[in-house]
């Protein structure tokens, strides 16, 4: 009679029935989540492997430093120049906006400004290309690297401002208070205490923004897609050849030699972008940790 209630002592210690089903569901969910991560890594590996295996045979010192058609030096130099001009425009504005948010605006103003920065960040880059075209290229009747730099600067601005503002907010309160207690004026505190202690984070945020902007293509095809590919130039008031628009052009034309060059350029660009963004990320994490712990 009681045999049904007392569990069989010789039964194996494995779950059965409902528990078994629940554990099975949980186990499959774990496998699915791991599979998702593996899938994303596989996509990354596939893309990078293609870029490396097809780009490596093409890349050489001549490829990097000589003019077209022996190499693609002018495009690389053009990309660098446009990125530098964009950063020269975006960095001062971005850092000042960040300072305004962290030092001057109240909570309300900060929220409004952060919303505006997020909206700027969410603008599709092709829109910024259209903007630079109608605002700068159309009135002058010619493409300029400057117009492209303005569009890229608008892409960099919210990234630099948000990044810097996060770092500025981490500057320890006691540093400001110590400065105040010594009777130091606000602006001296900002210039000699707050900015220097946040400098590392600001610079790395900027580098991340540059890495993001360097690969942008959409604004450049409307503002600086032509340009002399044989001679080296950094003149902002003419169209400069650059890597992204060249790859885009090649992919539209579809010639085999063009493909080989494009893979070579992709490799150089991806290498620079990945190395700088990985490095900057590590440095940013370190300087944030340092600030939070001090």
């Amino acid at each position: 009679m009681s045999g049904a209630l007392i569990p069989d002592p010789t039964a194996p210690l494995t779950p059965s029935g409902n528990l078994r089903r629940r554990q099975l569901v949980s186990r499959s969910a774990e496998i699915a989540a791991t599979g998702a991560a593996v899938l994303a890594l596989a996509a990354l590996a596939w893309v990078l492997w293609t870029v490396v295996s097809r780009g490596a045979p093409v890349v050489s010192l001549d490829f990097i430093f000589k003019g077209y058609p022996e190499g693609v030096g002018p495009m690389l130099l053009g990309t660098l120049a446009i990125a530098v001009y964009a950063t020269l425009i975006a960095m001062p504005v971005g850092v000042l906006v960040a300072l305004y948010i962290s030092e001057y605006s109240g909570a309300r103003g900060a929220r409004a400004l952060k919303l505006i920065l997020d909206l700027l960040n969410g603008l599709p880059s092709i829109i910024l290309g259209l903007f630079a075209f109608i605002f700068i290229v159309a009135p002058q009747q010619k493409q300029t690297a400057f117009a492209g730099a303005v569009a890229l600067a608008i892409i960099e601005l919210p990234l630099i401002a948000r990044g810097s503002q996060e770092v500025l907010q981490l500057v320890p309160k006691h540093l400001r208070e110590a400065s105040d207690a010594l009777g130091v004026a606000r602006w001296r505190t900002v210039l000699s205490v707050i900015l220097p202690s946040a400098l590392g984070g600001i610079v790395t945020s900027t580098v991340l923004a540059v890495a993001r902007a360097a690969g942008e293509t959409a604004p450049l095809i409307l503002t600086t897609s032509s340009g002399d590919v044989k001679s080296f130039s950094i003149n902002p008031f003419e169209a400069l050849p650059n890597v992204p628009t060249w790859i885009f052009k090649v992919s539209e034309e579809g010639s085999e030699t063009g493909y080989a060059e494009a893979w070579g350029m992709s490799l150089v660009l991806v290498f620079i972008i990945l190395v700088t963004s990985l490095g900057a990320r590590a440095l940013l994490a370190r300087s944030k940790r340092k600030l939070s712990s001090s």
């Binding site: 949980s26 774990e30 899938l39 893309v47 504005v93 997020d118 700027l120 605002f135 959409a218």
Partner: protein, 330 residues
Amino acid sequence: MSVSSPAAARAPGHGARVSLLRKRADRLGDRGIFAICLLAALLATGTIVLVGYQIVHGAMPAIDKFGLGFVTDTTWQPNFGRFGAGVLLFGTAVTSGFALLLGGPIAIAIGLFLTLLAPKSLAAVVGPLVELLAAIPSVILGFWGLVVLAPFLQEHVEPFLHDSFGFIPIFGEPQTTGLSVFTASLILTIMVIPIIASISRDLFRSVPPELQDGAAALGATRWEVVRGIVLPTTTNGVVAACILGLGRALGEAIAVSQVIGAGSEITSNLFAPGSTLAAQIALQFPGALTELHKASLFYCGVILLVIGLLANLAAGWIGRRFSYGGAVNW
């Protein structure tokens, strides 16, 4: 700040003058730095207004000619001066919707994997690697899609899907090039995954561990902890992350234009070429000859701008309780 300079010690009146000067300098400095900071903030605000104004301004001829009917009109014939964004809007909706449907769950699963499953040391490697996907320039991803992914899909995946699931109209007859709405959607999927994954990872990290431990102590399995605790507490943020990803997919011009094949018809077949608002601008603007053609592309830009701003506002509104910037609160 040398409080006791030798000069001050020698002449009291002189010292007072110095401190008066310094006070003036400080006032000037305070105001100056405030003013330039304010100026920068106004510049950032002005930029977004100016961008909006200029895009609408550029679209004006097309807006005057076609009015709101442009949005639903499905003819796009530059040679006859007839333009409508219906096909493009459809293509945009299909590609980004597909990318979100496929990429969203994968990205959320990656977020869960990084927070709950992976050992810390593994998560510290896998997390940044997934984010690296976002660092690959879109033109290179699109080039890869054109040269590698499209032929692969055309040879292996599309025929298989057509043969096995051909009774569903979206898996129609594959084309010869592999340049299709399907390929574009997959490229967009790759682009939205890192965005949604990194935001949802940060979200899941913010779920109080005592809640999760409590559920586990009551006998919940890992999946039940996720289903009962982690996902319900972060729903808002996850939805906001998905909308942000959607916004990114809607606005992607370059990679899509490289692999979508520039079709001009509305079709239910995913394996047929198509076009999107953003891709149309990238493809046709450099070669646009007439003012009306350019203005129509600007009109596409206006639509894109409106959708993009709405998506971002919605994401901000839904996810307001959570800061996706990281450790800093709104």
